[in-house]
Symmetry: C2
Subunit: 406 residues, 2 copies
């Protein structure tokens, strides 16, 4: 696998665009992603019981295993808690884009992010769709504009493309994402849209995405708040013309690894661009008896406010990390825990077999001054491992999310 220059238009047969249509004051707020032929689609949606209208629409299409031609996304308004009217707005957005692209509304996914509890400015959006679709293009610039158009409080667009070889055919995967920052006055969302030209069965595409989400997007945390609009969509349009992947063979594994790479990259970018973030933390837990347990332990550390504030203060506070593992909801033997901090400045062991180690404070301080820190935790109960990614909790986070509405 190699990383290539590009974005969601890198794979064959995809076009994209992003425009300003007036939901937001100035910045781009409408993105369209288009596959020239019907694509198999897989998706993951928020686990929040409160789901925004566009998710209800997309769930129907995905659950019925329908092919997808296009995705329309607006930022600036989440179309959440908007009742029946919100649901009608989604349908009319799909219909409008379908008319433009000479397809059916059931082949159009809809996604929104922004304030919740406010009705969409639907006229602006429909006019916007009509005025924007003709700019769909397969250039990097067009893809970049779509990545910009899905942003809310993100400070930079998140894009990637990779290339793999499947049976001597070049297969590409591209992706764009936006972060879990919070928009004024309400919550925003994690959105990720992945395109690929691989030829793969719908069943395996779903399996690959589902499994990939567990170890990528589900292992990041900025503030433990799950949005009403979170959505990951993966389209596969078969334009690479590789022999169709229909079982979990070597080709499937090559694809799955590349997909994991793309999702891991985008997930990490989301954390790095989290609101007010000054430190990027990787929790790497090894030697655990089960994968699920390893994930739970790693995630519990990333969601602890005490751990997060300690890293903001560049404090080698292993006690808070151990305590956060302790309330992860799984059993383990604290006497078997060894913990190190690792990064380019070096490494320092803070506890060994559950007991504090006299460590070099100066070394620890050098490591903690860096922007990226790996917390390496080893148990002795098995061979499973997991990684989770998180960030510190800063004054800036409180400022951004505590601002008065105006």
């Amino acid at each position: 696998m190699k990383v290539i220059e590009g974005s969601i238009t890198a794979p064959k047969g995809y076009k994209a665009t992003g425009n300003h249509v007036g939901v937001k004051r100035k910045r781009r707020d409408l993105a369209i992603i288009y596959s020239e032929v019907p694509a198999n689609a897989a998706a993951g949606f928020t686990t929040n019981v409160v789901k925004a209208a566009p998710l209800l629409w997309c769930e129907q299409i995905i659950n019925n295993n329908l092919p997808v031609r296009a995705i329309v996304v607006n930022s600036g308004n989440a179309n959440a808690c908007t009742g029946e009217l919100g649901i009608k707005h989604v349908e009319i957005m799909a219909e409008t884009l379908a008319n433009c692209l000479d397809t059916t509304k059931e082949e159009v996914l809809v996604s929104s992010t922004g304030v919740i509890g406010v009705n969409l400015p639907i006229e602006k959006i429909l006019d916007g769709i009509n005025n924007t679709y003709s700019t769909l293009d397969n250039t990097l610039q067009a893809a970049n504009q779509s990545a910009q158009a899905i942003m809310t409080t993100d400070t930079f667009p998140k894009e990637i493309a990779v290339e793999i070889l499947i049976n001597n055919k070049i297969v590409k995967i591209g992706g764009i994402a936006k972060g879990s920052g919070m928009i004024h006055p309400n919550m925003a969302t994690m959105l990720s849209f992945i395109t690929t030209d691989i030829n793969i069965s719908s069943e395996l595409l779903n399996k690959a995405l589902k499994e990939s989400i567990v170890d990528t997007y589900n292992m990041i945390s900025v503030d433990r708040d799950t949005s009403t609009n979170d959505m990951v969509v993966l389209l596969a349009n078969a334009q690479a013309e590789n022999p169709k992947i229909e079982c979990e063979n070597k080709d499937y594994n090559i694809f799955k690894n590349a997909l994991d790479y793309v999702n891991t990259y985008l997930a990490q970018q989301i954390v790095k661009d989290g609101e007010g973030v000054s430190k990027f933390l990787e929790i790497y837990i090894k030697g655990v008896s089960s994968k699920d347990k390893a994930r739970k332990l790693a995630r519990s550390v990333t969601t602890s406010n005490l751990v997060k504030t300690a890293f903001f203060g560049e404090d080698a506070n292993w006690g808070r990390i151990l305590a956060a593992m302790g309330y992860a909801g799984v059993e383990f033997n604290p006497q078997e825990v060894t913990m190190e901090f690792v990064n380019e400045a070096g490494s320092v062991t803070l506890m060994q077999n559950g007991m504090p180690v006299a460590f070099d404070e100066k070394k620890a301080s050098e490591i903690l001054k860096n922007k990226e820190i790996q917390i390496l935790i080893s148990l002795k109960e098995g061979t499973e491992e997991a990684k989770a990614w998180g960030c510190d909790l800063t004054y800036e986070y409180v400022r951004i999310n505590g601002e008065y509405r105006t």
Copy 2:
């Protein structure tokens, strides 16, 4: 029931004291609570897998249903992650106090709070016990000193006493507690010690405490971090001479209600004195199909960083509250949610049946300026309800917990 002046020495047959013995630099750091006769004891301990040494000692005594004569508590050092040596230190603390009081070490509970991963300065503590026990007294001043001696980053001692009438006998309950603030450089703890002179079976004492904890201490959250040392202890020494309560009769209910009052008061005081807290939030959820579900929904709101920062910013951000309910891990119909903010400044309805309501921003602003705010949430699925108590997330919280270790 009436609230009376007093503390843990209000019930008959109890003495207390608090002293400075040198674990902390200046402030009181050793408390002793003493019952003149063996008392039935009930207790609740942290659910954290990582448990400090004193908790292991106390669990043995409580699980074996042994009578208790005394509790010795030190602040400034949690005796957590201290291995075999920590366990030996607990035993010798119990033994030393037992010798002073002419009882056995198995009748002495031990509790610690403060930094973790550092061995106790055991000589100072043992000398302290020997020099302090003679100051045990039943005065309010002595009880107040014990309440001071268990404090870490608390800004005020937490004490209460109440009186009830059981079969024409005056029965009293007294309590002291310390908060879930975080101590530099590691975590501190919630501790609560309750005394009563009621005559009640050990079984019912346990039942009353266990049930009371669920709706009091377990419904508060400052930062969702569960300490290695959390402990609630309830002693009942029968000195009120009421006919022994041996079934869940009217007398039991009178006692249980008074115990709930004491625990609710102490739990709320802990939140109000939480680190950096500027707002005290009561989440009151009604109309839910089960009590457990109501508790989960209420707790989920109090633990959301987004909700907490919104209240810090005095922002009527009902969307974040609804979203926090949405990831509580229970099903409910968002279309049935009605939400109000209530306090002495008035009330304002923000959403009705899952839809935003156009509300008076000025009124909302007046309500949010107050220090105490009730968030009243109604569903339409049943008759159960729950209350949870939380606080805002402030710059000051980040400052306190992000400080460099020095």
